[in-house]
Symmetry: C2
Subunit: 343 residues, 2 copies
């Protein structure tokens, strides 16, 4: 499950009835977001009808477009007055969508954003190829910005994302996976695109080095916080309250931080349970409940959330490079919201 599912699900309202900070940022850059949406739809077209049909399945499924939002916000808050940031934001969303399509092949995941995944509907073949098409379109859009530095950032991020996804393959069914390995995977597969989205927008704006690296740091830390919270929510009653499936990671025997911690902290008599459900992948109906109980008993969710909080705080601290503005306040609140949505 991606963070956008959660954002979508919680809707525009927080538990206190306020508009969420993601929605607030959307309103602040509404014209740019609308232009990005038009750009996305204009450039996902193809004479080969299956391509937009399949792409639309993900692109119009109600995601909040958080990554392109970071690009637009970083460009505007950096004083950018042109319109190339819209192409860059569309490129970022295309790279994200291509990654999801290829990740569906990878994980054989049945659900993505609450809809039947594209690769279940159309098969692996079209999902891979439409991902390739969107990835190519992303580079065409970046070429149109005429800015070699943003191309460099996003080409580099794309290579790192692929490395992270390959690293993650080793993270299933292997109890010996370390925290260090886990954080390397998260930095690569999730945080690299958050970082590149904000970084490239800041760079396009012509902001100074401090601003540019600050925005990159904001994106990177926000991305790690988001992934940690997602991984915690997969074992959380909060998730179940929201009507979302719980236990996707568990069923795939993924070594996310809650499991790494729960296994490390497990009583001797619980170790064989983890060996069976993770190493052998031999799971029965009631195992998820027991896993959730053990994860909670060992304080592993709290510890995962404590780490997420630290990354969210680092993201907010990175915003010090930005002059005070409504955009800055919204970005800071998004970092808080990312963690608070779990409670």
């Amino acid at each position: 499950m991606g963070e956008q599912d959660v954002l979508k699900q919680t809707g525009k309202q927080t538990s206190t009835g306020d508009i969420s900070p993601v929605e607030r940022l959307h309103v602040l850059i509404a014209a740019d977001m609308a232009a990005t949406d038009r750009m996305i739809h204009a450039r996902m077209t193809s004479g080969v009808a299956l391509i937009p049909d399949l792409a639309r399945h993900l692109i119009d499924s109600g995601g909040k477009r958080l990554r392109p939002m970071l690009t637009l916000a970083a460009a505007r808050a950096g004083g950018y007055r042109g319109d190339h940031h819209v192409r860059l934001a569309a490129a970022v969303e295309f790279i994200h969508t291509a990654t999801l399509l290829h990740d569906d092949v990878v994980d054989e995941s049945a659900l993505r954003r609450g809809k039947v995944s594209a690769n279940l509907m159309w098969g692996n073949k079209p999902s891979v190829l439409v991902g390739d098409f969107l990835f190519s379109r992303a580079f065409q859009l970046m070429v149109e910005t005429g800015d070699m530095a943003v191309l460099d950032i996003l080409a580099g991020a794309s290579a790192i994302i692929a490395e992270g996804e390959v690293m993650q393959l080793k993270s299933s069914n292997t109890l010996s996976v370390t925290e260090d390995h886990y954080f390397k995977v998260v930095s690569a597969k999730t945080a690299a695109l958050f970082a590149a989205a904000a970084h490239s927008g800041a760079l396009l704006s012509g902001g100074n080095d401090g601003y540019v690296s600050g925005m990159r740091d904001y994106g990177e830390n926000l991305g790690i916080a988001f992934q940690l919270v997602d991984d915690a929510l997969d074992y959380s009653g909060r998730q179940a309250l929201l009507g979302k499936a719980v236990g996707d990671d568990f069923r795939e025997a993924k070594m996310t931080l809650p499991i790494i911690l729960a296994h490390a902290r497990a009583r001797p008599e619980d170790k064989p349970f983890w060996t069976r459900v993770i190493e052998t992948g031999n799971q029965t109906e009631s195992d998820l409940d027991r896993a959730i109980t053990l994860v909670e008993q060992t304080g592993s969710i709290q510890e995962t959330m404590r780490r997420a909080r630290a990354y969210a705080d680092a993201a907010k601290a990175a915003l010090a490079v930005m002059p005070d503005s409504d955009i800055k306040r919204a970005l800071g609140d998004i970092a808080d919201f990312c963690v608070e949505r779990a409670y």
Copy 2:
């Protein structure tokens, strides 16, 4: 089967004992080819060991690197004196390799260049992701050339290749596929990269517009000729003599030109055969022999080769933009060789 299999298989010698023109061109630009090989190996590395392990499976399997050869030749014959053409050539080979890796997922092909395909050995997941990694590396290499125009060409070609592959999905199990559809697929999935390889090298050289568009035309026509010959060879005794598998396309019920023609020209009593083996995909052991007989009886191989000859001639004609040189003669002979290898 790719054209490089055939080149590899026929070795350095033609049937008359001469060195093949592909080999001759390789010798003419030997230093550039060696530098490209070093660049390829230097840039396919990753801290994630599975990536170079899997990539090496294709990259070191003895392909002749015909596409990067076109890039280097077009750059050098256009008077280029720098060294960015080596990065560009490596990028072209990475895009080609990524396409093969994703095509293996697509076609569930068991053999590629005579070796067990990467996706059979490692699974679909790593093949898709390593393809993504190489594709990203290709764009990083292009960024390093600092030439936005070559980025534009190769990003555009990559989108067209993906479109061609998606179009090709509709080309199986469907007797109503037209020649027009077939040629659109071939232009997109095969010729687009040949064209872009030569085009981008010419552009990098700073050649005039005539030279640049001539080299693009050479690549495009050569690519179509190559694909036509490959599709003919799949039903050919010549292929069997070379010890290669025949009938891969047939078993996948692919509507290549030999089948499109054989079906269009079929006697009424042979139509039900084609309906069964292509539309329903219900094939028995002896069907390939019957298909080969029918393809030959209807003159469909000859007609396919006649078309290939015309594209090879168009490729040679496009070379008129190039001043006389050993490289020009080798490129012309490669166009002839591409067709003659089938006899």
